[in-house]
Symmetry: C2
Subunit: 420 residues, 2 copies
C-alpha cells in the first residue's frame, strides 16, 4: 500500500519553517507519521512538496531510509486539491492520503488502516474545534465539509483511505476552476466516512500547537503496567515534567547516564549525610523514569538502552546498600546486608527470568501482595535515611532483608501454584 503525503503548504503561521520537519517531542512531524505507517505495512510514500521545501524533504527522507517519490507542486497557490491531484499517476488501488503537518498516535493509524474513506473523530479531545475542519455526514457519506459549518457530525482528522476513482472527480474540478481545495473534492465525491473516536491526533499550525502536542505525547509515553505504588503516585507525577523539559535537548541514553550518576552520587553522600543521601537516591529513582519516557515519546526506544538501564539500576542499588552497610553496620550485622542485597536482586532477577522464559511480563499475570519493587524499596530506604538521626539504620536492613525475601518467596509460590 502507498501513502500520499501533502507537504506543499506554506507554513505561514510557523514563521516560514518547513512544517513537516519541525520536531515535536524530539521527532520531526513527518517522521512520526511515516514511521508508524511503514511499521504497519505502507511501503512507499508519494510526497507532494513545493519548490522551497523539496530539497530539505528529500534529504531528510533519504537519511531516514524511507522509500519515497517527491512530486513538486509548481503552483501551490492552486490549492490543496490541486496538490493532491498531482499524485494521480503514482498510486494504484487503495491508498492512504494524509497531511504532512498532522500527528497521529500509533493506535489511531493502526485502526484507521483497517477502515476506508475519510476518517473522522466524533469525540476529539485534543483538537481546537474552532479551528478544525468539520464534516456533515448523511447516510455514511460526506454531505458538507469546511471550517465554518454550524451543523456538523464530526471532525475531519486529515486521514483518508481512498481508491483511484477519486481522481476522476478531482480532474473534473481542476478543469473547471483555478483553485481547488481538497475539501471540495471530498465533498463532490461524497466520500464515505468512518469514525475513530478519542485517539490523539492534531494538526500543527502554530508554535503553541507544538508545545501542546509535546506535552500530550510525553504524558502518553508514561509506561503504566509495571509501575509500583510509589512510581504511580509520586515518581510518575514528576518525571514527565522533567522529560518535557529535556526531550528536545537530549537522547534517552543521556537520561540513563544522568540517573545512574545521580544514583552513584547518592551512594557517596552516605558518608557525608545519610538523610541527604536518601533524598538524592529518591531523586535518582524519579530520574530513572525519564529515559524511558523520552525514548517512547521521541520514538527512539532501543533494546540496548532498555538493557543498559536495568543493568545500571542494579549497580546503583548495590552500591547504595553497600555504602550504607559500610557506614552503619558493625560486626555480624553485615549478614543482614547480604540478605537485603540478595533479596533486592532476586526481585529483579525472578521477574526478568520469567520474562525471558514466558515471553511476557511477570506482572501481567501476578500481583504480589508484599511490596518490594524498586521504586517502593527506594522510597522506604529514603524514609529510613531521613529518620536516621533517631532510628538505627540497622533496622532498615532488617526490614529490607525480610520484605524483599518474603516477596521473592511469594513470587515463587505464585508461579508454582499457577504453573506459570
Amino acid at each position: 500500500m502507498k501513502a500520499v503525503v501533502l507537504c506543499s503548504g506554506l507554513a505561514t503561521r510557523m514563521g516560514g519553517t518547513i512544517k513537516p520537519l519541525i520536531k515535536v517531542a524530539g521527532r520531526e512531524i513527518i517522521y512520526r507519521t511515516l514511521k508508524i505507517l511503514q511499521d504497519n505495512g505502507v511501503d512507499e510514500f508519494i510526497i507532494i512538496a513545493n519548490k522551497i521545501n523539496k530539497n530539505a524533504l528529500t534529504k531528510f527522507l533519504e537519511e531516514n531510509g524511507f522509500k519515497f517519490k517527491i512530486v513538486v507542486n509548481e503552483q501551490p497557490e492552486r490549492g490543496s486539491g490541486y496538490s493532491f491531484y498531482l499524485s494521480k499517476d503514482f498510486v494504484n488501488g487503495r491508498f492512504v492520503l494524509i497531511m504532512g503537518d498532522h500527528i497521529f498516535e500509533e493506535d489511531f493509524i493502526r485502526n484507521a488502516l483497517k477502515l476506508d474513506g475519510l476518517i473522522c473523530d466524533c469525540d476529539s479531545k485534543f483538537v481546537n474545534v474552532e479551528e478544525a475542519t468539520k464534516v456533515l455526514v448523511k447516510n455514511g457519506r460526506v454531505t458538507d465539509i469546511g471550517k465554518h459549518l454550524n451543523n456538523f457530525t464530526c471532525i475531519d482528522t486529515g486521514f483518508f483511505i481512498l481508491t483511484k476513482d477519486i481522481f476522476t472527480i478531482a480532474e473534473k474540478l481542476i478543469k473547471e476552476k483555478k483553485v481547488v481545495e481538497l475539501s471540495e473534492i471530498i465533498k463532490e465525491a461524497k466520500v464515505n466516512v468512518n469514525t475513530l473516536n478519542g485517539y490523539f491526533w492534531m494538526d500543527i499550525d502554530t508554535p503553541e500547537d507544538v508545545k501542546r502536542a509535546k506535552k500530550i505525547i510525553v504524558r502518553k509515553s508514561v509506561k503504566k503496567g509495571e509501575d509500583g505504588f510509589i512510581s504511580r503516585h509520586l515518581n510518575r507525577k514528576i518525571s514527565p515534567l522533567i522529560s518535557e523539559k529535556l526531550i528536545d535537548r537530549i537522547d534517552p541514553i543521556h537520561a540513563t547516564i544522568m540517573s545512574f550518576l545521580v544514583g552513584i552520587l547518592s551512594s557517596l553522600v552516605v558518608f557525608y549525610s545519610i538523610p541527604l543521601s536518601g533524598i538524592i537516591y529518591q531523586i535518582s529513582s524519579i530520574l530513572d523514569g525519564v529515559d524511558g519516557e523520552i525514548a517512547r515519546a521521541a520514538m527512539k526506544t532501543s533494546k540496548t538502552g532498555g538493557w543498559l538501564d536495568s543493568t545500571l539500576d542494579r549497580y546503583v542499588d548495590f552500591l547504595f546498600l553497600t555504602c550504607l552497610a559500610v557506614n552503619s553496620l558493625v560486626n555480624y550485622e553485615w549478614i543482614l546486608a547480604l540478605f537485603a542485597i540478595f533479596g533486592s536482586f532476586m526481585i529483579s532477577y525472578t521477574t526478568e527470568r520469567y520474562r525471558a522464559e514466558f515471553k511476557e511480563s511477570f506482572y501481567k499475570r501476578h500481583r504480589p501482595v508484599v511490596f518490594g519493587k524498586r521504586d517502593e524499596r527506594i522510597f522506604l530506604i529514603m524514609l529510613f535515611c531521613l529518620l536516621s538521626p533517631w532510628v538505627d539504620i540497622f533496622y532498615l536492613f532488617v526490614v529490607i532483608a525480610i520484605v524483599t525475601n518474603l516477596r521473592v518467596v511469594e513470587s515463587i509460590l505464585r508461579v508454582i501454584l499457577l504453573k506459570r
Copy 2:
C-alpha cells in the same frame, strides 16, 4: 494432514506387553511420535489396533488429548499390509504412515514431513542393519524390499508419506491372498523413495532396544550451546549417566529439588568441613544438569520448571557464599563477600535481562573472554575449598569479587559496542 499408525502387531519379543505403550526414556513410544507429529501439523491419528491392545491404547490416547480414531484389526494374522488397508476409508489426500513401535527424533520427522513416498536412511547409525528392512532403489523407486536382501540401497525407516492411490494396489493384493505384508504393497506400488540420513530413529523390538534407545535419547538431550567450560568438560560427562539411571523413576521437578537440597547441604557443611563442602557444592552443580536432561529426553520440558531451576540456583549460590563468609571472614573483609555475591548475581541477571529484551540467548552473539558462568564459578570455589587448609578463604572472595565483576563489565561493553 492425518497419520495412520500401525499398532496391530503382537509384541512377541517383548513378553506380550503393548509395545506402543512401553516407556522409553520416560515416555511411551507412541506418545513420542504422535506428539512430534502433532506439533508439526498432523491433526488426526488413525490407530490400527488389535483386540488385545485397543482398550489400553484408547485410554492412553484420550488421557493425553490426542485426536484419534481407533480401527480394530480382527485378523492381525493377515499381516501388516492388511492392517494398513483397514485405514482406507479414514484418510484422504496426502497422509503419513508410521509404525507404532518406531521412535524418531524431532528433526527427522520435521524434515520427513516435507518429503514424500518411503523415507529411507543411507547412513543409519543407530540401527542394527542385520535386523532392518532393506530397500533396493532404482530410478528413485522401490524395486525390492525385505529383511534378507543382499543387494540394497538403503534402510526402510518405517516412515511414509503416501496418497490414497496406494489403496488400489493394496486392495488388489488383499483380494488375491490371505496374508499381505506392508512391504509387498510398497514393492508392488513401486513407491518413490526419499532419503534422510544420519538422524536418530529406531524400531523397538527387544528389551535391549529399549535400553539402547534410552541411552541415545538421554545423550541427545544434553544442551550444548550455553554450557561453560567446566560443564562441557566435566559436568556433562557425568550428568547423562545419572539422568539415564533416574529417567524412568523421577520427574524433572524431583531432579531440580534434589540438586537444590544438595546445594543447601553443601552450604551447611561449610561449618563442619570446608573442603567437603566444596566437593558437595560441585556435586550439586553436576546434578543441576540432570533436571534439564530428563525434561528434554522425556519430553517433559516446562517453562515453570526452567524458571524454578534458575531461581533455586540463585538461592544455593547465595547461601553457599554467605555461609563461607560467615565462617571465614572477619571485620571489614565482608565487603568482599558483598562484591562477590553481587558479581555472581549480575552475571546471571545481565544474561537473563538480555534474553528478555532481545528474545535470544546472550551467548548466541557474545563470547566473553573472562570466565564466570555458574559451572566455572562453582569449580573455582571447590578448588579454593579444597586448598583451604593452606590458602585463606579470604583470597577466594578476592578472586570471585574481581572476576565476576570484570565479566559483567566486559558484557556491558560488548552489548554497548555491538549495540545489542
